[in-house]
């Protein structure tokens, strides 16, 4: 196949990838979108084979490795529980990053295969592109591994900070730029290896100071990085499918990070520089005197909700941890039988990744048109009889609207306190991730239900 013809087909793949994302603008078109994506990928792979003039015995090995990787991927895709989606996505990001590093290494070792010149005399532009691809890929890889370990709970979710952390990161970042420059001057392979190693270290250092609840930002950011790495390799390979995809993924991740930061009213740099939970501990200890709380049980909750005319459910990360989404759905079914109107309110940063709660509710067969975003539903709390807060905390804290001293001041919150009564399912009175006491616990219209989210919800179903 001629180079021009294959370039044309790569362009078609790129367009199919755009359509794949376009499909996600509504759930009805999303499945079709996914097929566009698969078609684009298939075309790219076939065209690559056809554009290589001869591929005797190597071809069979490529197929074997493709099948091995594909079966592993398919196995994971079918087995993974929906609650584990954040760590799965983080894991997948790391693979893209590492693949980018490997392709860059291969191109560096054998530039003639990619028409980039010969060893020791690689074209300057190509050298810059491949070293950028390798560096970003390496950062994506090691950063995603850390994110994966934190989300999986293998590593503690609390921020790891040490002295001069940001200074060291800055130095290493400058060192990477210097190495790329030096590599272009000398073409030394040792410089290239050092570049890759330093980038791996930067990836680790970049993610360790970021705490568990900031993971939505981290995952989106790594998503973005994996795109830029792919784009870098795309420039090296002069492949438009890869360039288009890299740009799409890069901007997609950047937008998601922006949305997540906005959901927390924090700047991107504030999140990346890390250590939110660590700095606030001092401010909340003083307000720790015992205030009275109203303590309820499942029967009280069932009674309240059964006699309500409308109920809004506010799910959070705790629901995911307790796997309470199916029980929740049963409870809602029972309420609906009693003629209660039920809807769900989702905060942008609920959960550990963008859209996390929506997927879990969808898994429990909750129709997506009963699930609303913050702006859509926030006014309805004033007219609602019961708000059922399950596994959420900081995103309901009214202090964000009233106290300029509070670290979460200005963060958009769900106006849960405006509903006639609030049911708060929680294991204890402990503050949420931000380390701030929730004023809501002590309000007159709040009934605390101290229990595991799933157990409590199941008990309510029984008494309904």
């Amino acid at each position: 196949m001629s180079a021009n013809l294959s370039a044309f087909f790569y362009l078609i793949s790129g367009i199919l990838f755009i359509l794949a994302l376009r499909g996600l603008s509504s759930p009805e078109t999303s499945r079709q979108g996914n097929y566009f994506g698969i078609a684009g990928m298939t075309i790219s792979i076939i065209v690559t084979f056809l554009s290589l003039d001869s591929f005797g015995s190597g071809f069979i090995y490529v197929l074997i490795f493709l099948v091995i990787g594909g079966s592993v991927g398919a196995f994971i895709a079918f087995r993974i529980p929906m609650t584990a989606m954040p760590e799965l996505v983080a894991g997948f990001h790391s693979l893209v990053g590492l693949a980018a590093v490997f392709v860059a290494i291969s191109a560096f070792l054998k530039p003639e295969a990619f028409n980039l010149g010969i060893v020791g005399d690689i074209k300057l532009a190509s050298l810059i592109e491949m070293s950028l691809g390798a560096a970003i890929g390496a950062i994506t890889f090691s950063g995603s591994i850390i994110a994966f370990l934190k989300l999986r709970g293998i590593m503690s979710g609390s921020p790891i900070t040490f002295k001069f952390q940001h200074f060291i990161n800055l130095l290493l970042g400058l060192f990477i730029i210097f190495l790329i420059f030096y590599l272009c001057r000398t073409q030394l392979s040792n410089v290239f290896w050092l570049l890759v190693i330093i980038s791996f270290i930067v990836g680790v250092l970049l993610i360790i100071p970021i705490g568990g609840a900031d993971m939505p930002v981290v995952i989106s950011m790594l998503n973005s990085y994996s795109g830029w790495a792919a784009a870098g390799i795309g420039f090296t390979l002069e492949n438009s499918a890869l360039i288009i995809t890299g740009a799409l993924v890069g901007s997609s991740g950047a937008i998601l990070s922006y949305i997540m930061c906005k959901g927390m009213n924090r700047s991107f740099f504030n999140v990346i520089l890390g250590g939110w939970g660590a700095t606030e501990q001092t401010s909340n200890t003083k307000s720790k005197e015992q205030k009275p709380v109203k303590n309820g049980n499942a029967d009280d909750a069932a009674f309240l909700m059964k006699n309500a005319s409308s109920v809004i459910i506010v799910p959070g990360y705790g629901m995911a941890v307790a796997q309470a989404q199916h029980a929740l759905r049963e409870m809602v079914d029972a309420l609906k039988k009693n003629g209660v109107k039920v809807s769900y309110a989702i905060h942008p940063v609920a959960g550990r990744m963008p859209g996390h709660m929506n997927v879990l509710l969808a898994e429990a067969n909750v129709p997506y048109d009963e699930v609303f975003e913050l702006e859509e539903i926030n006014n309805d709390f004033a007219n609602c009889d019961v708000a059922y807060v399950i596994g959420a905390n900081d995103v309901t804290n009214p202090v964000a609207k009233t106290d300029p001293q509070s670290p979460i001041y200005g963060m958009p919150v769900l106006d849960v306190e405006k509903s006639k009564s609030v049911l708060f399912v929680k294991r204890s009175l402990s503050p949420g991730y931000a380390g701030i006491d929730n004023d809501l616990f002590y309000r007159d219209n709040t009934l605390m239900l101290f229990a595991d989210a799933k157990k409590m919800t199941e008990e309510i179903v029984k008494s309904l």
Partner: protein, 100 residues
């Protein structure tokens, strides 16, 4: 004077960033998780580079250093392609409208 083909690729890149910007803003927030998994899957089109790397060079020695890195990259990208698209499909199947 001839224009360097790099400029064309740069144009594609920058225009794609704009396309991405508008397309992603139109994605409904409830589908942000599938958005991440599908972007993950499509960024594995890097397998194109991996295949070229794996098959580069002579036919008598398919396992030179550069080929090995190519094969490794194929495995990684393949995990992502199949895993990414299938898990996206699995999620999207779950999104259902209210029964009338």
């Amino acid at each position: 004077m001839e224009i360097d083909p790099f400029i064309f690729r740069l144009s594609i890149f920058i225009l794609s960033i704009f396309v991405g910007y508008y397309v992603v803003w139109s994605v409904t927030p409830s589908l942000h998780t599938p958005l991440m998994s599908v972007t993950n899957a499509i960024s594995s089109v890097i397998i194109v580079g991996a295949i070229i790397a794996a098959l580069a060079g002579s036919n008598d020695n398919v396992f030179e250093m550069s080929n090995i890195f190519g094969f490794l990259a194929i495995v990684l990208a393949a995990v992502n392609i199949f895993g990414g698209f299938l898990v996206t499909q699995r999620m999207l199947q779950m999104y259902k409208k209210k029964k009338k």
